[in-house]
Subunit: 408 residues, 2 copies
């Protein structure tokens, strides 16, 4: 696939500049040729040339003009998010979704399912295939050109083959070569850990559009991070980077399933938080929790804690506050190690923003090594549950925009 050339080439220049122009318009919205020239430092004829090619391949469109003081009005260019489409597949620990998205990406059509890949892999795969075909038919019916399939997985992925690897919390039986199951549709497949996928989405459509160094801290059923360095996803030698959830934050702490002691994940995954809430529910002072538990038995979910906290239930607030404190510890570690421009907090925990924000802020203020010299920016994911599918689509988008899929 790769022809292993490390030396640079004339065509490399062209490809890079074309990708640069395209992604600038994608990220900044409406731009004129002259603005592109100014931003890139390329000359106007070069820009004209590149832009015309991109218009020919239908990726850019001329959409009206903008006002200037005098002279010819600049023609505004916009990214054509309907030029191509992706099929996004996302797995959580309790189900999966398949969707058709445009290049923004927006979710145009989705199918959700509760089959767990964990429980009965064969049946789940059949179900997946069914839903996939469903989406694919919807897409072909309306003549959408599909760039590829993006898959977001809550666990590790094998670097070369994009196999979903066996892993105690998501797929404990054996590794799964999803690619071969979808091979017959002859679409390129890209896979990423869901923190990485979410991270990519923030770079193309979120808060990290113009930010080279960012860490996406994902705290939900699992705790992991997507790491953006120099505008590119950093995945490490074996696509195994970002497992911040399994860094020890308590060397003398209890043993984690991974073998380590006192992993961060043991303190700030939402399951652990719920366990604690259940404990407190029966014996604690929270009427809200006790009532919930009698009504719904063991069906206590994370969003219940948020509801409780919003209804001023002190216990719920305190539990979330503690979650914030633990997340804060993780964030400070990230800040000290990565010195990123931005940290985005995502996953279920982000839904509790209003209750964890303050303890996190406080934690940074008190504990950050270089707090006198740097001001870290902490954002919270704006995408809710959709981020799973949006991330999956962004994986395809990311490969496409790098010029890898050769459609422009």
């Amino acid at each position: 696939m790769n022809e292993q050339r490390i030396g640079d080439n004339l065509t490399d220049v062209k490809v890079k500049n074309r990708a640069l122009v395209l992604s600038l318009v994608k990220k900044r919205g409406l731009l004129s040729r002259i603005e592109l020239a100014r931003i890139t430092g390329l000359t106007q004829p070069t820009i004209t040339n590149i832009v015309n090619e991109l218009i020919t391949s239908n990726l850019l469109q001329e959409v009206g003009t903008s006002d200037t003081k005098a002279g010819r009005k600049p023609i505004l260019l916009s990214f054509n998010n309907r030029a191509f489409y992706t099929i996004a597949i996302s797995f959580s620990r309790h189900g999966f979704s398949v969707a058709l998205t445009d290049l923004t990406p927006n979710i145009l059509f989705r199918r959700d399912s509760n089959y767990e890949l964990q429980e009965n892999t064969e049946i789940a795969l059949l179900e997946l295939q069914k839903e996939f075909i469903h989406v694919l038919e919807y897409a072909t019916q309306s003549l959408r050109l599909i760039l590829g399939i993006g898959v977001s997985v809550p666990g590790p992925v094998e670097a070369e083959t994009y196999t979903i690897l066996a892993h105690p919390t998501f797929l404990n039986h054996k590794s799964l070569d999803l690619r071969s199951h979808l091979k017959e549709y002859d679409l390129p497949i890209f896979m990423a850990n869901n923190a990485d996928a979410a991270c990519l989405h923030e770079t193309w459509n979120g808060v990290a559009k113009e930010i080279p160094n960012m860490v996406y801290f994902m705290a939900g059923e699992g705790v992991g991070a997507g790491i953006l360095i120099d505008g590119k996803l950093y995945e490490g030698k074996n696509k195994k980077a970002g497992e911040i959830g399994h860094t020890s934050v308590n060397i003398f702490g209890p043993r984690c399933v991974c073998g380590n002691q006192g992993c961060l994940e043991m303190y700030c995954n939402t399951e652990k938080i719920l366990e604690k809430a259940r404990e407190v529910a029966w014996f604690g002072e929270s009427q809200f929790l006790r009532q919930l538990l009698t009504e719904k038995r063991d069906e206590l979910k994370f969003h219940h804690l948020i509801e409780g906290a919003q209804k001023n239930d002190i216990t719920c607030q305190n539990i979330l506050k503690q979650l914030g404190q633990y997340i804060g510890v993780g964030i400070v570690n990230i800040l000290n190690v990565f010195d990123p421009e931005v940290v985005v907090i995502g996953g279920e925990a982000a839904l509790a923003k209003e209750f964890i924000e303050e303890p996190i802020r406080r934690g940074i203020e008190e504990r950050l090594l270089y707090r006198d010299y740097v001001t870290p920016h902490i954002h919270y994911s704006q995408w809710g549950e959709d981020i799973r599918l949006l991330g999956a689509a962004s994986v395809v988008l990311d490969h496409f925009m790098a010029g890898e899929l050769g459609r422009f």
Copy 2:
């Protein structure tokens, strides 16, 4: 200085390819033109062209031929490490050194001093200037062309201005603009944290020559890391990345000077280890330590522990073993977060390799999340104390080889 062009250029290609060829010869030693063509994927004429330019600028030399089965013998090219020189300045917490180095870098002439920058900044600076002039005179006397000054600092450096920043453990009074003190000699000055500098040295002259992703874990008086990503030093938004010593590994642990709790540095810096040794010395069972302490009072140094361990003193061995265990925790955290190809352990701790190696290996085996999928490579610094100066020189080298200093 930067003309802010993000678009790519024909000259960019040339500069990159030239830098690539030069660094390949520097790193791999003797190479012929045809080999360079094969490695880079560039064509032979392109290589010839570039090589001839580099020979003209005296950076490459033709040195004999190598044997082949038949045909014309390839002319071997070698990197001329005496084409230019650097002046390296390194600070530790207890003194500084100034040296002249070639481009390997080898230390050709050095001056060491025990003035602490901390104690009496003004006098120390005068002393530094004196030694610097000494080295500079030695250099000019023999007509060496100096590329620039490299400075390695055991603390943070301000990104834009290369100011040495105030910091509790090295320079607690106020920031120091070393650049302006050396301005009159009209040489470019580059500064880096000493972990970063050491990391760079490993990329140019050590174990990471061909490795894009590496973490240099430095454990000595302080604990920090130099992070290599995609072949480049990763410094973060504000050159504050890599402070792994101040990641919390015990959220419930004692407060660190930095504000955080249970920082890694509190468990595996050598000072802490020595404190523990001193405690144990009087009341423990170690005859070696007790004798040492009565002879030398409070002059117990880290190398004494190593000596003791080498003389089979169980207490010394146990203390070092524990150090290894703590370092192991740090390494596992690094491996889980960065998934690097290589981790290099440096700093004073690396001197105790024979005693910490096993507990570190064991720690990784037991605690690494993806131990079934990845095999991390752990190296130990080979450079001893010289790494400070070598690192400082490598900072200059690194800028030069990137084509920034415009001498080729």
